[in-house]
């Protein structure tokens, strides 16, 4: 046991890193980068639903604003890549602080509905303010050089940066979950009144978890805008919040690798079904229904349970 990884997790982690290294040789690098961005986004979302038991339906706000801010910073201010992406994360965290402060007043489904409604507010904000470019979004965002020195024009250079960000975020989430702080989060998930009676300031813990999740979601969105060179309303739309729920549910809520696998399957579906138009939506909906009815542990949760491994 090192770094809080079980044996099975350590093996899975090595395998994942190996896949990340080999993948761009086999698949289109931009596709893999998209999966990594979504994987980080879903992992950030999973930090809340999986370990605190809070369903946020507003994560598109952090992802989308992260995307807009990084795109704007890279294009209009000429910030370097790491600063632009960090700016996206910080803005995500700031919005998360406001959302969290408001939403943790209510529990369960109310929490979900409040986060959704707040995210819708951010959507309309993005639709109206000039800096986002409204319906057009921010287009032709340059790929900012890393540290202002290393060019990211080449897909592979950017790939290693994105892979590094993804891994750092992934490990950070794992570390958070296995820290004393993470133990308290899990206690809140299991039995909130009891956690309160043990003297924990439950609201503070929830808020911090929410802000951390929003920060990482913002980073993921920011990274995505660097990959595609565009930031649009799609990223703040509430369907994006729905998609991140789907990825996490599909991969396995409350498992550390689940959201990444979910993002991979989801990204694949989206790419290969794109030619069939709205069948993507129908398929997503059908997967949702199937997961909820028959498959609530998700892919990783199911595999872990079958093989009796602590994934």
């Amino acid at each position: 046991m090192s770094f809080g990884f079980s044996r099975a997790q350590a093996v899975a982690l090595v395998a994942m890193v190996a896949v990340i290294i080999v993948a761009p040789a086999l698949l289109y690098p931009v596709f893999v980068m998209k999966v990594l961005c979504f994987g980080l986004f879903a992992s950030a979302f999973n930090l809340l639903i999986g370990y605190v038991g809070l369903l946020s339906l507003g994560h598109a706000a952090f992802f989308g604003m992260g995307s807009y801010v990084a795109a704007y910073a890279a294009k209009s201010w000429g910030l370097s890549a790491e600063l632009a992406i960090l700016a996206g994360g910080i803005v995500g965290a700031a919005i998360g602080l406001v959302f969290g402060w408001l939403a943790i007043r209510r529990q369960g489904i109310y929490f979900a509905m409040i986060t959704l409604a707040l995210a819708q507010m951010v959507f309309f904000f993005c639709l109206q303010v000039p800096f986002t470019g409204g319906e057009d979004g921010i287009q032709q965002v340059p790929r900012a050089p890393l540290l202002g020195l290393i060019s990211m024009q080449d897909d592979m250079s950017l790939y290693w940066l994105i892979a590094g960000i993804f891994l750092a975020g992934f490990l950070a989430i794992h570390r958070i979950v296995h820290s004393p702080f993470g133990q308290v989060l899990k206690a809140i998930r299991e039995n909130e009144p009891r956690a309160i009676s043990l003297g924990y300031r439950v609201d503070d813990y929830k808020l911090l978890a929410f802000v951390l999740s929003a920060f990482l979601a913002g980073i993921a969105g920011a990274a995505k805008s660097q990959v595609f060179g565009i930031a649009t309303l799609t990223d703040v739309d509430w369907t994006m919040s729905g998609e991140v729920v789907l990825m996490t549910l599909l991969g396995g809520i409350g498992t550390i690798f689940g959201p990444v696998i979910g993002a991979l399957v989801f990204g694949g579906l989206e790419t290969y079904l794109a030619q069939f138009g709205d069948w993507v939506t129908v398929t997503q909906g059908a997967i949702f229904i199937l997961c909820v009815l028959a498959f609530r542990r998700g892919i990783v949760g199911e595999v872990g349970a079958r093989l009796r491994l602590g994934l």
Partner: protein, 295 residues
């Protein structure tokens, strides 16, 4: 020209009636939504999609069967209600005893499937539906001229809200429903078939949404996306009103529509977000909602 706070009176009247109409839809939808939540503990994310289906059934009845608007007002809610009954029996009932969140996710999936299928079939731009002959033309109220159809929407929606409220508060069936909402096992022990009551309630709730869909059909085009943005406003309405009270969701729905209309006059940029701003304010002052009981 008469001015109120620097805005022409006619503009104010116009936006107020538009607000009232939107409010009528919010009220009808959040009413069904609240009844379903009360008994089933399910956040019915498919509510907007079923509202949209109501409008499409109306259009289909006319296009394929030549059945007009007035008959559709009765038939469409029954058709969509029957679909709701099937959804409840086949899917939602299986989640009994699980966390509420699964109900939300399941109905979200249903909404995606329904909307995706309709977009495949009809495209995103939608199909037109003409205002029925008897409701065409203007209505002169003396101080303003109002399209007759808009007046009809407000009256029909308000009447439907009233009927639903009376049904729930003043009849024996309503009393059973309210009792089951409070304590389902106990009501079942008295010999009431609660699972059937649950199924029928879901059917009735989405039937209300479909009724709103029929009313909406001649307003703009009938299109597959008409429900998906509305559902978020319905969520906000329900958070503001609190899920406890039927009357609360009706009043909240209408008030929010009017507030939205007023915002369009005085601060147009804020009209899309004002509902959510109200929600934030209510959450800060009364976290349980205006009409809700404190948890």
């Amino acid at each position: 020209m008469v001015m109120i706070f620097g805005k022409p009176l006619l503009l104010l009247y116009g936006q107020l009636t538009l607000g009232l109409i939107n409010g009528a839809f919010y009220a009808l939808l959040s009413l069904g939504f609240a009844v379903i939540f009360g008994l089933l503990n399910v956040i019915n994310f498919a509510h907007g999609a079923l509202f949209m289906l109501g409008a499409f059934v109306t259009w289909g009845l006319l296009t394929y069967l030549g059945i007009g608007y007035w008959a559709a007002l009765v038939i469409a809610p029954i058709v969509v209600g029957a679909l709701g009954v099937a959804l409840e029996k086949l899917l939602i009932a299986r989640l009994h005893g699980l966390d509420h969140l699964y109900g939300l996710l399941l109905t979200f999936g249903c909404a995606l499937v329904i909307e995706g299928l309709m977009r495949n079939q009809f495209g995103s731009s939608g199909v037109p539906y003409a205002i029925p002959h008897a409701l065409q033309g203007p209505l002169n109220l003396g101080f303003m001229v109002l399209p007759l159809y808009r007046a009809w929407v407000v009256i029909a929606a308000a009447a439907m809200c009233l009927v639903t409220w009376l049904l729930i508060e003043k009849t024996r069936l309503g009393a059973t429903l309210r009792a089951a909402t409070e304590n389902a096992p106990l009501v079942q022990a008295f010999g009431v078939n609660v699972p059937r009551l649950v199924t029928l309630t879901y059917g009735a709730g989405v039937g209300l949404a479909a009724f709103a869909g029929v009313l909406a059909a001649p307003m703009n085009s009938v299109n597959p996306n008409m429900g998906s943005n509305l559902i978020v406003v319905v969520f906000a309405t329900v958070v503001i009103g609190g899920l406890g009270s039927i009357l609360g969701s009706i009043i909240t729905g209408f008030s929010l529509g009017i507030i939205e209309g007023l915002t369009k006059v005085y601060y147009p940029e804020g009209s899309a977000t004002v509902v959510f701003v109200v929600m934030v304010i209510v959450l800060l002052i009364r976290p349980a909602g205006l009409f809700g009981k404190a948890a």
